[in-house]
């Protein structure tokens, strides 16, 4: 296997429940430095996650809602600091975590592209060169590019965001559910753009609920279950394991409903 570009070792993040969250001064005075009585326990959305991603790989992350898939991406992107373990990323990361990110509503589309592009490390020259391409890709009319972004439709903002980020030449891409946006023809374009990036030996980590997307791009799948890495294998088996668990859960729910219903009847 080629040398890893993303290396996670024993990653864990904890969120303190009830404590410190929205804790007002009043509470601090009442309870002092002692923990307040309704102190919750620590909650670990992710714990003990270890994996490696090699260059050029495309890895899909599957799992139920709230199992920490997005948190994992944020850890890789470096916008969250793990409480346990470490993640080493070799090379720059292009995060498609939230596409409208960084766009300032007061500024025009052009100014925003310049600003966010530079924030992500594009040189002014590169932005100028690619500007037409970005606007073209985003299907934004020339007459709107100089209007403030607050007048854009949400679709326009997202398209402009994707168009911009997809121009980044960073070797690692993190994609979180963003393929769900846009109409059919735009989706088509996004697919083509991603295909092109993958051909260029770029590494991608994709979080999605769409089996077609996952099967289309990913060779490998990580199945995350209750904050732990349940399976690290090819995408088909990961999806299969996920589907299996989902099925079992639905069965269990049905059963429970049935027994609950029975109980109610008896009570009545």
């Amino acid at each position: 296997m080629a040398e890893p570009v993303i290396e996670a070792k024993g990653l864990g993040v904890k969120f303190a429940m009830n404590r410190r969250r929205k804790r007002s001064l009043r509470e601090m005075f009442i309870h002092g430095t002692k923990r307040d009585p309704n102190t919750g326990t620590d909650f670990w959305p992710l714990r003990d996650i270890s994996f490696e991603v090699a260059k050029g790989e495309c890895v899909g992350i599957v799992g139920k809602n709230g199992t920490g898939k997005s948190t994992l991406l944020k850890l890789i992107a470096g916008v969250l600091i793990p409480d346990e373990g470490e993640v080493a990323v070799c090379g720059k990361v292009a995060p498609l975590l939230e596409l409208r990110a960084g766009f300032n509503d007061q500024l025009t589309g052009r100014e925003n592209v310049n600003l966010v592009g530079s924030l992500h490390g594009m040189s002014q020259q590169l932005i100028d060169e690619r500007f037409e391409q970005i606007v073209d890709f985003a299907e934004i009319d020339q007459k709107f590019i100089d209007t403030p972004v607050r007048h854009y439709s949400s679709g326009m903002k997202v398209r402009l965001g994707f168009a911009l980020i997809s121009q980044l030449e960073h070797p690692i891409m993190l994609v979180d559910e963003v393929l769900a946006v846009g109409d059919k023809s735009f989706k088509r374009k996004c697919y083509d753009a991603i295909d092109k990036m993958l051909q260029n030996q770029r590494t991608m980590v994709l979080v999605s609920h769409s089996e077609t997307d996952l099967k289309r791009f990913c060779g490998r799948g990580l199945y995350i279950k209750n904050g732990a890495l349940a399976l690290d294998s090819d995408i088909e088996s990961s999806l299969a394991a996920y589907n299996e668990d989902t099925k079992a859960e639905i069965e269990a729910r049905k059963k429970k409903k049935k027994t609950d219903g029975d109980g109610d009847e008896k009570a009545a």
Binding site: R20, S24, A77, I81, E98, L119
Partner: protein
């Protein structure tokens, strides 16, 4: 700390962009634009001059006596303009991280640059007000000294930058976890204004008989006092801070920077989770 400082330096372009963006946004939707940067301090100066200069006759305390070139009005202006830099940064500090939560949660940049850019933006705003100051100096016949231009002015700016940055780092990170900070800041802003000899010459406190010694020491320990005494000293050499005040100011600023930075680093993990 050195490596983080280096990381901020490597991202200086980003800081520049944020500063330029903030200024752009600020001026874009107003007709008068840049003029506001001057109108606000002018209006404030007018009010304070009316109350303190004309009604309370604060003139008597101006360092260098009644005959000092520039008089109370120049004293007022030369303190008020740098104060607006501090106070604008101070009141925006608690929101420095919160307003950029979208950027922070999607992009990996050293988080320090957001508080830093707040201080830098307000500093540029302050530089923009210099023409106003120079107009007043010209018409009021203010005079400066070599010491004033080459020692007090740069020193005042450097120390004020460090102090404001420390405060901003501290407040920005704490306010993400405990939102009460915003309220405290509003009150402190007012208190510090009168406690830092911006419009009331410090001699009126330090050389008065009404206040006990401990109060005067406390008053002199406020790092902002020294900072504004230096700003005044550019035009009123007699207001130059003595050794005690100077060391309290520089020491206080360094201490504030260390406290602010350590707090910022210690809270960073939880701050990122809350954003």
């Amino acid at each position: 700390m050195a490596s983080r400082a280096l990381a901020v330096w490597q991202n200086r372009k980003v800081v520049g962009l944020l500063v330029r963006r903030d200024l752009k946004v600020k001026y874009q939707q107003s007709i008068l634009g840049y003029a506001w940067s001057m109108l606000e301090p002018l209006a404030m100066a007018g009010v304070y001059f009316f109350v303190f200069g004309l009604i309370f006759n604060t003139n008597r305390g101006v360092p260098g006596g009644d005959e000092a070139p520039g008089g109370y009005l120049l004293f007022l202006i030369s303190g008020l303009l740098p104060w607006l830099w501090f106070s604008a940064g101070f009141s925006e500090a608690p929101r420095a991280l919160i307003t950029h939560s979208k950027l922070i949660t999607t992009m990996k940049v050293p988080r320090e640059i957001f508080p830093f850019s707040v201080v830098a933006t307000k500093f540029v705003d302050y530089l923009f007000t210099w023409p106003v100051l120079l107009v007043f100096v010209f018409f009021l016949g203010g005079r400066t000294t070599l010491e004033g231009v080459f020692l007090w002015l740069p020193l005042a700016i450097v120390v004020q930058f460090a102090f404001t940055l420390g405060v901003t780092l501290l407040l920005a990170s704490i306010n993400v976890l405990v939102r009460d900070v915003e309220r405290i800041v509003r009150i402190l802003n007012r208190v510090l204004f009168y406690a830092s000899a911006i419009i009331i010459p410090s001699t009126l406190v330090l050389e008065s008989d009404t206040f006990p010694e401990w109060f005067k020491t406390l008053y002199a320990l406020n790092p902002l006092l020294g900072i504004f005494k230096m700003h005044h000293a550019v035009w009123f050499p007699a207001d130059a801070p003595d050794a005690f005040i100077l060391s309290a100011t520089i020491g206080g600023a360094i201490l504030m920077l260390i406290i602010g930075y350590t707090t910022f680093r210690r809270l960073e993990t939880s701050v990122l989770k809350e954003l």
